[in-house]
C-alpha cells in the first residue's frame, strides 16, 4: 500500500510543473539541429566571401520539392486535428499521405542532385557545389528520421494508441515535421539569396 502511495507521488511529481518534459526535450533537440545547420550555412557564407566560388543555377526541382514539403505539413496538421477529434480513419489516411509526400520529397531531392550533375556540379569539386550536396543531404537524413518517427506514429494509430486523450506522440511528431519543413524552406531561401 505504501508502495502505491509512493507511486502516485511519482506520477504527480512528474506532471506537477509546466510543459510536458518530452515535448520540451524535442524542442531542445530541434535547437541542436538548428545550430548544426546554422553552423553549416555560416560556413557557407564565410567560404563564399573567401573567393574562388563557383556560380551556377539552383536546380528548378527545389521549387517542386518545396511545394511538396509545404503540402505534407498541411496533411500532418490535418492528421493532428483528426486525432484531436477522434476520427481515426482520417487520422490514418492523413498520416499515410504525409509519409508518401515525405518520400516524394526525398525522390525530388534526388532528382535535383541529378540536375546538378547535368550542370557539371559535383559533390567533389568546388566547395560551392559540395555545400549544396551537404546541406540537402544532411536535411534529407533528418527527413528520413522524421519518416521513421511518422511510421512509429502510424503503427500506434493502428493500435488505437493515439486519440484525443493521448496526443503527446503525434503532437511531438507534428512539431518535428513542421520544423523539418521550415528548415528546408530556410535552406532554400538561404541558397536563393546567397548564390
Amino acid at each position: 500500500m505504501n508502495q502505491a502511495i509512493e507511486n502516485i507521488e511519482i506520477i504527480r511529481d512528474r506532471r506537477a510543473m509546466g510543459m510536458n518534459p518530452s515535448k520540451f526535450i524535442v524542442w531542445l533537440f530541434i535547437v541542436s539541429i538548428a545550430m548544426l545547420f546554422a553552423a553549416l550555412t555560416s560556413a557557407y557564407i564565410v567560404k563564399q566571401s573567401g573567393g574562388e566560388w563557383l556560380n551556377f543555377n539552383l536546380p528548378g526541382m527545389f521549387w517542386i520539392t518545396s511545394i511538396i514539403i509545404i503540402v505534407s505539413s498541411v496533411t500532418m496538421q490535418l492528421a493532428l486535428s483528426s486525432a484531436r477529434a477522434d476520427r481515426f480513419n482520417r487520422l490514418r489516411t492523413y498520416l499515410i499521405v504525409t509519409v508518401l509526400l515525405g518520400l516524394a520529397f526525398l525522390i525530388g531531392q534526388y532528382q535535383s542532385w541529378k540536375q546538378l550533375v547535368e550542370l557539371d556540379v559535383y559533390f567533389v569539386g568546388n566547395p560551392a557545389g559540395s555545400f549544396l550536396y551537404v546541406l540537402t543531404g544532411l536535411h534529407a537524413a533528418h527527413i528520413i528520421s522524421g519518416l521513421i518517427f511518422l511510421l512509429i506514429v502510424i503503427v500506434s494509430s493502428f493500435k488505437l494508441k493515439i486519440h484525443s486523450r493521448s496526443l503527446i506522440r503525434i503532437e511531438i511528431c507534428t512539431t518535428y515535421w513542421h520544423f523539418l519543413g521550415g528548415l528546408w524552406l530556410y535552406l532554400f531561401m538561404f541558397l536563393k539569396l546567397n548564390h
Binding site: 511529481d13 518530452s22 526535450i25 545550430m35 553552423a39 553549416l40 567533389v124 569539386g125 559540395s130
Partner: protein, 616 residues
Amino acid sequence: MSTKNIELEAELHEHDHDHEHHQSFITKYIFSTDHKIIAKQYLFTGIFWAFIGGLLSVVFRLQLGFPDMDLEWLRPFFGKWITINGKLDPEFYLALVTMHGTIMVFFVLTAGLSGTFSNYLIPLQIGARDMASGFINMLSYWFFFASSVVMFISFFIETGPASGGWVVYPPLSALPQAMSGSGLGMTMWLTAMALFIASTLLGGINYITTVINLRTKGMSFSRLPLTIWAFLLTAIIGLLSFPVLLAAALLLILDRSFGTSFYLAEIFINGEALPNMGGSPILYQHLFWFLGHPEVYIVLLPALGITSEVIATNSRKPIFGYRAMIGSMMGITILSFIVWAHHMFVTGMNPFLGSIFMLLTLIIAVPSAVKVFNYLTTLWKGNIVFTPAMLFSIGLVSFFISGGLTGIFLGNSAIDIQLHDTYFVVAHFHLVMGSAAFFGMMAGVYHWFPKMFGRMMDEKLGYVHFWLTFIGIYLVFFPMHYIGIAGFPRRYYSFTNFDTFSMFTDLNAFVSVAAIITFGAQIIFAFNFLYSIFKGRIAPANPWRSNTLEWTTPRNPGHGNWPGKIPEVYRWPYDYSKPGAKEDFIPQNIPYSQTPESNLPFEKDLVEKEKAEKES
C-alpha cells in the same frame, strides 16, 4: 474520469512492476536508468581517463625534462614507439600531446565533471525523483562509453593515435599521407568525437529539461542552488556549441574520406599536387573555435558552481551576491559565444576585427572578477571549516585568479603575436581551465562522496592529496610562463635543438619532476577513493551541515531518491549563520513558520503566505 483512473492505474502497475521485480546486476549497475548510478558510471570512467591522460603527460614531460634519458624501460608499454636508441619517437610525442589534450578536455573535464555532477546533483538538489528521461540519460552514458572505447583502441593501432593536436587543424588532419597519426588514428578520433558529441547533446538536453520542468514545489529559479544554475548554463552552452563542432567534424570527414575541398586548397605533398581547389583551412578554425571557446566554460562553469556551494557551506555564511553570481554566469555564457576568434589572432585576420574580438574577450574579465570577488567576500570573516573539499575550492579560486590574469595578456591581439602557441598559453589554460576545473571536480568528489557512497573519505589523506597537488601544480605551471615569454613554442618535441633554449634545461627538468610528484599525489586520491567506498567511516545524514535538498534523503538514496513525499522548498539554499537561528544552518525544506526566531521582517509576510497556501 474513469478513463483517467484506468490510465493512472495502468501506470501504477508499471511502476509496481518496476519496484517488486528484483533488478539483476546488469539492469541495476550497467544498463541503469537511475541518475545516481549513471553519475557514478561517469565518475569512474572520468577517473580512469584522468589517470590515462595524466600518465601520457608524465611520459612527454620525461622527454622534455630529460632529453638524454634512456626510455628503453617504456618499450613494454609503447613497443616500436621507443626508437632503437631508447628515445621517444617524435611522431608519437605528438600523439601523446594530442591525446592528453583530447582526453583531459573532453573525457575528463566535460564528461567526467558535467556528466558526474549534473547527473548526480540535478535531481537531488531540485527535488526530483529522477531525470526527465532516464532512457536518454542511459543512452548518453553509453554513447560516451562507446566513444571512450574507440578512442582507447586508437592507441593500439599500427599508425598510432591522432597526432595533429587536440584542435586537429586541417590540412594536417585532413590528409592521411601528411603524417602517420593522420591516418586511421585520425579517423578513429573523429568517430569517437562524433559519438562524444551525441552523448553530450543527449545529456545536456536532459539536464535542461529536468531543471526547467521537474523542480519541486517552491523551488523557484531564485531559490536554485548555484550548482544547478551552473549545470543549467553549462548544458545550454553545450547544446548551442557542440552541433557546430559536429558540423566542423562532418566537413573534415568529407574532406578526408570523400575528396571534397572544404578545408583544402592548392596543396603539394611530397612534390605532388593535390586536386583540391577552393577550400580554406581557416574555415575549420572558425567552426572549431565556435565550439572550442565555449568548451572552456563548459569545463569551468560546473567547477565554479560546485565551488560556490562548497565555499558557502564551509564558510558557514550565505554566498555573497547570489544574484550577481547568476548574472555573471549568464554574462559568461553569452560572452563565451562571441570571443572565439581570439584563438585566431595570428591567422591573418583583419586587425580591426581583431580589436573587436579583443574588446569582447577582455569584457569577460568583468563577470570573472565579480565571481572571484564574491568567493573572497563569502570567505571573509566566515567560520571556515577546512574540509578537503573546501581546500580544493579555495585552490580553484587561487588558480582562477593566477591563470585568469595571464588571460588579459593573451586576449590582447598585439601581445598575442609574441605569445601565441608558446608555453605561456600552456601555462595560462592549464591553470585557469585545466587545474581550476580539476580542483572543482575534486572538491565535488570530496564533498558529495558521503552522499554517493554513504561513507566518508579519509580527511588526512585528503589534506595530503590537496597540498601535494596544489603546490605541485604551481611548480609545474608557473615556470612555464617564463619559458613561454622567452618564446618557446608548445608541442615541440625537444628543447635542446636550439641553443637559445638550452638555458631552460634545468627549469624543464624541474617542471618534469614536479609533474611526476603531482601525478604521484593522485595515487593517494585513488587509494582514498577506492578504500573509502568499501571501508570508509559511515557517513552521517548531513555531514557538512548543509542546506540543500540532497542531504534530506536517506544515507543511501534508493530509486526515486526520497522514500516518502518529495520535500517542499521554502527558502533559498544559503541560510547559514542566520542571526537568531538555533543552528548555524536552516535547510531549504524548513518553512519560515518553523523559524520565527530568525525570520527577517519581510519573511514574516512569507509565513502568512505559507499558511494561506497550506489551507488552499
